[in-house]
Symmetry: C2
Subunit: 150 residues, 2 copies
Amino acid sequence: MATPYSREQLEQFMEQFVTACRNAGLKVTHQRTEIYRQLLVITDHPSAETLHKRLLPALPSISLDTVYRTLATLEQHGLVTKIQTAESQARFEVAHQPHHHLICSRCKGVMDFYWPAIDSVDLPAIAGQWGQVDSKTIVMYGICNSCSNS
Amino acid sequence: MATPYSREQLEQFMEQFVTACRNAGLKVTHQRTEIYRQLLVITDHPSAETLHKRLLPALPSISLDTVYRTLATLEQHGLVTKIQTAESQARFEVAHQPHHHLICSRCKGVMDFYWPAIDSVDLPAIAGQWGQVDSKTIVMYGICNSCSNS
DNA sequence: TTGACTGCAAACGATTTGCAATTGC
DNA sequence: GCAATTGCAAATCGTTTGCAGTCAA
């Protein structure tokens, strides 16, 4: 998820990002930092294409495939999460504390929410028999208020 | 989800399907019944392409786009559910009682499981403020035992 | 300097669509 | 018979890839 942070927090996150890249052996390029910064700043969950459009003013020559490639790289290193929605386009967000998704079937908007009660609940026995579970997310579909009021 | 049913149960489900189609004003074509039957019989969650391959012996002339079209139609009428996985291909299953998904990051296999404790839990307040929630599914990612043992 | 990273353009795979022929009702 | 549905082929869309030039370390 991404929430508006203060300038100081933002800088701190960016520094952490740079450190994480260095530790992972990733070069810290202008494109990568800007993509990550966008994901930090933006409060929605943009697709690669949306992200690309928003980056163009700051990096007029950035290409869509670099956005895709960067997101894939960052995802491999756990710095970014890919959200699978029912539509064709994937959405992205910076990896954060556990949270869940409310997706509007009409406008396709994704809203994050927290539900600590669920995060801390024990998994059913069957999950342990199946294998090793790495992540657990609740996905709810419905119609958001702004859609149903229009 | 789909579990192996007895011949009688299967026939009963097929009859219900035919009735549901009629009620929805959908024509009951050979292709549609076979697609639905496959989804009832099959214990995994096939993609449109997999489904198409499995249907070919029974319907040698069925085309892949008919499978796509039929699945889309049935989904619109709530007879089939589209499962969004992290890979590119969508997976399908017949609509059933509430259940959740364990997805293996390695082999991409989808396993269903039931978790009534979660199904009956109250939604957090934020969900009510957001809008009307129609479905709630838990998606867990991990590595299944057969993958980690090989 | 050098390998990682980028931009470009072209390829790709999954899914959708227009159209004429076919089929259920 | 008529409208819905199908099969075919071509198009579309999101995403990925090969390659040559560029840039961070």
